[in-house]
Symmetry: C2
Subunit: 341 residues, 2 copies
């Protein structure tokens, strides 16, 4: 297929140390690939810029460390331009691991259909996509939340956290959030149904949480790790509390893995710590969507996005994300589409 | 009742800092108490000197910090001398929380009968007592061990560890031990059925464990905490591993609770950490004994004891225990009895 423009790609120029610098990445023009047998040629509409990418650049992801010069990994909503796979036809909308680029030839694995009639396209990268599946898997499968429980959620305005809070509320639990700015906290309580949200950068958040939950929290859904996690374990666990470790974003920029919480309170509180990895629940995606699409359409799953325009923004957007300056699901709009606002 | 000797008591002279010093405790002569209505007067035969006592002296036990001048807590096998409780009669043998003293008046709660015909009396403080119940609760109730699994157990020659290893083996699992001396390791493999036992004070124990268990261990039954726990979490977890935190003895001497393991591997290995507290399983003691007495009588539960003579030894024995110099269940023989060897 003849495309009249180069294929912009975001490549690893240098493996970052600490918070990524903009010049750790570079945006280059490459050739648009030819799809091979079984592949589809995709044009990127929306690209998700996700924190897990940072941990992968440190070699902590299951795929190993990417090479300098390789295209940055990234999940996109894309349009099928050309198909050598009978399951897809030109014009189809799909969610794919195509990497941070404008065009990609993608193999038959891991192509998820996106139905443009149920919700805005970009939600396939957020509340109805992998982040939504993460929150749902944790609270509906791995460790089901029960009515009447109190759940504390860090990164409460992020895609995973906000969805988790709203699912907990739908299940009859009380959700309390932690977030990194007054603006994020306000959004969490005003739009995402959190009963309260504390700014963990303020001095007395732990004392205020203790006054609100003197018996501790039944579940801590952790997207943060680090000192916030340590404080929760030390001071805020209810008897029999469960801790879902979903992300350790505070640690992704660090060279060496830092120590974790002292486990004394895990014993005295008879608590449980467990890891939550969304890939384990891929086979439950249809169940997730059967729950989540009606919730979404009924206005029960609010979300916040921060959409930048153009792949050239990727280095800046990634740095912003990994320094905590973003607010909401971080997405780059790469290409136009009739369904995209 | 007229007793022709003073009541020797081990009292707290000073709350210890770090490893207990012998002069943190003192042995004094007091009056033999008179039992009140509902109480029994007990004469101590065997006294257990347990690591949890140290954590209580730091205020980390559920009962709070004991006062200077108070009698040290301790569990004993005792003979009933006088009873103002219809459930017990003089001559009965009981296991009680009577504290470190020769005579005690004990209320109706927490008096457990000891059957002197099933096993040596001192086993009511070890393999058939609280340590045995701890091991059984962890591996038969809280997180049942499965045939074919590999379990790693720290403090493998201790009362809890050795019992846990043998129960795991009875259930068809492979038990691997960690202990603090070559002598302890040899006992664990030669007498307690461990497939292997590594001395964690030697330099390459982690490498040797990795060569024996290249896929990691399915269960880690932790009596140690500290750097050993960190190493296991970092390098030795199988996919879906469970970690039972039973004791953190390496930390009991520390003033401030140290950090715990980095939780990154808990996520990548989909592992679970849970606290094991024996008091939660008190209502299962009969079930435990129904399992354990036949195992014991069939020679399937070996144990190692270190028995000292006389309460005056308590300060020395406690220091030895908390510096890891003991080998086996640490017991003081306080009074004579026909059934005691």
């Amino acid at each position: 297929m003849k495309i009249n423009e180069p294929n912009l790609q975001v490549r690893v120029r240098r493996l970052p140390e600490g918070i990524p610098r903009e010049d750790d990445l570079e945006v280059v023009a490459a050739a648009v690939p030819e799809p091979k047998a079984g592949e589809i040629l995709c044009r990127t509409i929306y690209l998700a810029v996700d924190p897990y990418v940072r941990s992968r650049l440190s070699g902590r992801h299951f795929d190993g460390t990417p090479k300098v010069g390789s295209v940055m990994i990234g999940r996109t909503v894309s349009e099928v331009l050309e198909s050598k796979n009978p399951r897809h036809k030109p014009g189809d909308l799909v969610c794919v691991e195509s990497g941070m680029q404008a065009y990609a030839a993608v193999g038959p694995e891991d192509v998820l259909p996106v139905d443009p009639t149920v919700a805005p396209l970009s939600t396939a990268l957020g509340v109805l996509g992998m982040p939504g599946l993460t929150a749902w898997s944790g609270l509906c499968v791995l460790d089901p939340i029960r009515a009447g429980e109190t759940i504390l959620i860090s990164a409460a305005s992020g895609a995973v956290g906000a969805t988790a809070g709203q699912i907990a509320r739908i299940k009859g639990a009380r959700a309390i959030g932690l977030a990194g700015s007054a603006e994020k906290c306000a959004w969490a309580t005003e739009h995402a149904g959190f009963a309260a949200c504390f700014n963990y950068k303020e001095r007395d958040w732990s004392g205020r949480l203790a006054r609100l939950c003197p018996e501790g929290v039944d579940v801590y859904f952790d997207n943060a790790g680090g000192e916030v996690l340590n404080t929760i374990v030390r001071s805020h666990l209810a008897q029999g509390a469960r801790i879902l470790i979903c992300g350790l974003i505070s640690q992704y920029n660090l060279k060496d893995p830092p120590p974790g919480p002292n486990l004394g309170p895990i014993v005295s509180k008879r608590a449980k710590i467990m890891g939550l990895v969304v890939y384990d629940f891929e086979d439950r995606r249809d169940d997730f969507l059967r729950d989540a699409i009606p919730w979404f359409q009924a206005g029960r799953l609010h979300y916040k996005e921060e959409i930048s325009e153009g792949l050239a923004q990727a280095p800046r957007v990634f740095r912003r994300l990994m320094s905590g300056e973003n607010f909401g699901k971080t997405i780059i709009k790469v290409g136009a589409h009739a369904r995209a606002p």
